[in-house]
């Protein structure tokens, strides 16, 4: 009932309580209040997908979500993917490295978070399904072919890991 609100939420497994301005976007909250700079802010009106995160297990644009809307939510950002004990990159992150899925890297967190949801729902997507899923993310280096290769590689590795 005012311009400031107290929110409680979980980000990458850690609980936070903060007072925020109602107009603060979740992307800016993650970057400026929690100092998690992996969630990139590109267009700030829902077109580019660089700010894609998972909210309660579902991909979402952090720039099109207010921090106050995330009260009570469970958030995963790209910082939450690396194995905390071993320090190893997540298989999707490693696949993007190995298949040259990143050029300048600005769009990469968004692509990786979108891929995380895609492969969680559909472990063996067709090229068409991958393209449709990635359709909401823009790469300003236009390195789409190697991003597609990276998702295919990640899918193969995750499948053989779960089969093992």
């Amino acid at each position: 009932m005012s311009t400031r609100q107290t929110i409680r939420l979980t980000v990458n497994g850690k609980s936070y309580e903060r007072e925020v301005e109602a107009r603060l976007t979740l992307a800016d909250f993650l970057r400026h209040e929690l100092h998690l700079g992996g969630t990139h802010v590109g267009c700030e009106h829902g077109i580019c997908g660089a700010c894609t995160i998972l909210i309660d297990g579902r991909s979402a644009r952090a720039c099109l979500t207010l921090a106050v809307q995330a009260d009570g939510a469970d958030i995963i950002t790209v910082e939450g993917l690396r194995n905390r004990e071993t320090g190893q990159l997540h298989p999707i992150q490693q696949a993007f490295v190995d298949a040259h899925g990143l050029q300048c890297g600005f769009c990469t967190p968004g692509f990786i978070m979108t891929t995380l949801e895609l492969l969680g729902e559909n472990p063996d997507p067709s090229d068409e399904e991958i393209k449709e899923a990635l359709g909401g993310n823009l790469c300003r280096c236009t390195g789409y072919q190697s991003i597609l290769d990276s998702v295919r590689l990640a899918a193969r590795r995750l499948q053989s890991a779960s089969a093992a």
Binding site: M1, T3, R23, H45, S59, L66, T114, K131, G135
Partner: protein
């Protein structure tokens, strides 16, 4: 590209929400409803909208149900588009609405964007208003005095404007189950998969004894609201469903478009051409399904 300041309210019942809206309106406060936020947030970020207050419906229970009721599919206004997309009920009983939902934005948008939000936002390039006209959908709106049902052909007024009064909340949309034997299709041209349409058409088609007995056709992305294309519907009545009659219906619709929108991405003539071509394609697709 940051929203201007606003007061934030998160009522926890529909009664509280409508009472709050009435009070804010009485105080001369410009309040906007926040549903999924996927259309409102860009407007706030670009400051096209600068409301004094947002009323977030996320904590109002019971607005996200998807159910079959009295032969209609009723979708709560706060149901996410992703929920509508994944609903077996919607996919089986009203495949046109299912297909339209799959064309709205990208999965990241559909995960959070609400079904009701799109109807209330009433973007002329969005798929839902055209589908609402084709299916003769009904919109349920609540205010402190109760609820009223608004038919789709009265609901969409002009660009981003609906028949909803300032204190009203859209609570549910209702659509008939697709009759057996009806064909349907939705086709659009976008600059990028998932973006708003430069032009699109949605239609249903009924065939009996080798003739078209009924067609309902609407276009989106061409005018201030979605438009019914009655001349093309008439042109089909009694026609043998084939490439020739479908092309004639498309040409009739294109000729009947009074003054299509024009912008840097698509001229009025190009939009007119798209509508004709899309109708031809969509009718062929619908006819193949009409058995």
């Amino acid at each position: 590209m940051k929203p201007a300041p606003f007061d934030y309210h998160a009522p926890t019942s529909l009664a509280d929400a409508v009472a709050l809206l009435a009070r804010l309106d009485g105080d001369g406060c410009d309040a906007k409803i926040l549903a999924g936020g996927q259309s409102l947030m860009p407007m706030l970020a670009m400051r096209v909208a600068r409301p004094d207050a947002l009323v977030d419906l996320a904590r109002v229970p019971g607005l996200d149900a998807i159910r079959l009721q009295d032969g209609h599919i009723a979708i709560g206004a706060m149901a996410s588009k992703r929920a509508a997309e994944l609903s077996e009920l919607v996919r089986e009983k009203q495949p046109l609405f299912h297909a339209a939902t799959r064309l709205v934005g990208h999965q990241q948008i559909r995960n959070r964007g609400s079904v009701g939000g799109s109807f209330a936002h009433s973007d002329p390039a969005s798929e839902y208003p055209a589908v609402a006209l084709v299916l003769d959908m009904q919109m349920v709106a609540a205010d402190p005095d109760g609820e009223r049902v608004i038919p789709a052909d009265e609901f969409f007024v002009t660009y981003m404007t609906t028949a909803l009064e300032p204190g009203e909340i859209l609570t549910e949309v209702r659509m008939p189950v697709l009759p057996t034997g009806s064909g349907w299709a939705i086709q659009e041209i976008t600059r990028r998969n998932g973006d708003l349409a430069l032009a699109g058409v949605a239609l249903t088609l009924r065939l009996e004894a080798g003739r078209c007995t009924d067609a309902r056709i609407a276009a989106f992305g061409v005018d201030a609201t979605a438009v019914r294309l009655t001349a093309a519907e008439e042109a089909l009545r009694g026609a043998v469903p084939n490439g020739e009659s479908f092309a004639r219906a498309g040409a009739t619709a294109a000729a009947a478009l009074a003054d299509p929108m024009s912008c840097i991405h698509a001229s009025a003539d190009y939009r007119r051409h798209l509508v004709g071509t899309l109708i031809e394609r969509a009718l062929a697709e619908a006819a193949a399904r009409a058995h």
